[in-house]
Amino acid sequence: MAENTMSRKDALELIAEAINESVDDVQPGIELVTLSGWDSMAVLLLMAEFDDQFDIVLDEEKINSLKLVDDILAVLEQNNVLND
């Protein structure tokens, strides 16, 4: 288990805050490109958040593979951050 863990609900809030979107809009099944706040700065903020909080390094290849909100949750799951 990672040192810093959280629930899916908290993870969605963290993602929403990082990309400056309402958490109501950042839900599983949503395509990232449909979110108005999903831009290059959002990517940079998300990378910074993952780096600061979980020591997760998102490289360019990984970033380019993110299509859905679920893909971001999957990154957290793979790194044992999600606890539910």
Binding site: N20, S40, L44, M47, A48
Partner: protein, 376 residues
């Protein structure tokens, strides 16, 4: 705790395979020698929108300001400029005082480095160095980023006067014969409307209307550059007006003014661009104005808007556009026959020290015009 700028510096540096210090050092003020490379980058990003005399434009905008050796920043990677961010140092009047501020414009990133967050990082870098940063307007690529880094003020109202109907009808009716048939009626209607609006809109009798064919004479008459319009504005000083409207290459501006016993009380600056949009429309724009007295301010400004519009009509303008924000200017524009268009646009304000209650974050407190954008 790391600042937002430091956090993003760390991430961007890693993404570009640089260390943090090298990343920061790679963002530097451009020199005159960089102009050809900046222009080439603009051509790669904007393609056909970049004018032939772009290098002359860049030289004027970023290397011709009195007191500044350069006002455009570039990001250099492996001895190649991959991004640039233009700025305009301005004096901002707000809360009863003047403060230096920076207006950002012309942000470009080499398409090969898109989606790395370089544009956002450069903007943050300048916010890190300056208390107050402004951006007028945004595009579909930048608005989301600007909303994250600035307070968006949803203002800048757009107004228009139609002088000749052919272009207006061209947008409404597809068939030329229909346009030819009905245009005399529309021209008559527009002319009648303006004649009614323009009745009894002369300057007060104690004031003298002056037409400045040579705009170079106008800055010399400026005594108090702040004036009385709005509580927050970019100050149009003598040096600023000279740089902005007299020295700008490839553009011609005219002005009308109201003199009170030989002293400049108010002015309106305007220009005409040929070949805009449909079938080479001749588009007039009222780009800047000023008044130094609240007494009869609406009447005086309306008279000057009308005088400027009449002069542009004589010079062949098909329509005259105006963007504004403050209440006095809006009343004057409506009184002069301008019609509101539903084309509001945002501008963006950042201040590192002031609270949200400052006038600077109040949309209604600002004076804004075309002169506050880089489109003029």
């Amino acid at each position: 705790m790391l600042s937002q700028f430091d956090r993003l510096t760390k991430i961007l540096a890693r993404s570009l395979e640089l260390d943090n210090d090298k990343l920061v050092a790679s963002f530097r003020l451009a020199g005159v020698n960089d102009i050809p490379e900046i222009s080439a980058l603009r051509c790669r990003v904007f393609s056909s929108l970049v004018k032939e005399d772009d290098e002359r434009y860049l030289r004027w905008r970023y290397f011709h300001r009195p007191g500044f050796s350069s006002t455009i920043w570039v990001f250099e990677l492996s001895h190649q400029i991959i991004a640039a961010l233009g700025t305009e140092p301005v004096e901002l009047w707000h809360d009863g005082d003047i403060e230096p501020a920076l207006r950002n414009m012309d942000a470009i990133v080499d398409p090969e480095y898109n989606r790395r967050g370089l544009g956002a990082w450069m903007t943050l870098a300048l916010q890190n160095q300056n208390n107050c940063v402004l951006v007028t307007g945004g595009n579909e690529n930048s608005t989301s980023m600007l909303n994250k880094l600035f307070t968006a003020l949803p203002v800048r109202k757009s107004f228009k006067i139609i002088l000749h109907s052919k272009f207006y009808l061209g947008q409404k009716f597809h068939y030329p014969f229909v346009r030819r048939l009905i245009s005399p009626f529309f021209d008559f209607a527009f002319k009648s409307y303006l004649n009614i609006k323009w009745v009894s809109k002369a300057l007060p009798k104690n004031l003298l209307l002056v037409l400045f064919n040579d705009i170079g004479e106008l800055p010399e008459l400026i005594v108090d550059p702040v004036g009385c319009l709005a509580e927050v504005k970019v100050v149009r000083s003598k040096a600023y007006l000279k740089w902005r409207y007299v020295d700008k290459p490839g553009s011609q501006f005219w002005a009308v003014g109201a003199l009170d016993e030989g002293k400049l009380l108010a002015y309106v600056i305007y220009n005409i661009e040929n070949g805009r949009g449909l079938e080479s429309m001749c588009e007039g724009k009222i780009v800047d104005w000023y008044i130094n007295s609240k007494t009869n301010a609406t009447q005086i400004l309306a008279s000057l808007f009308i005088a400027a519009t009449k002069d542009m009509k004589k010079r062949g303008a098909d329509e005259v556009l105006l963007v504004l924000n403050d209440n006095i200017s809006e009343q004057a524009a409506i009184s002069a026959g301008f019609v509101f268009r539903n084309l509001q646009s945002d501008f963006f304000v950042y201040h590192s020290k002031l609270s949200d209650s400052s006038h600077i974050f109040s949309p209604d407190a600002w004076y804004q015009s075309f002169g506050d954008s880089d489109s003029i």
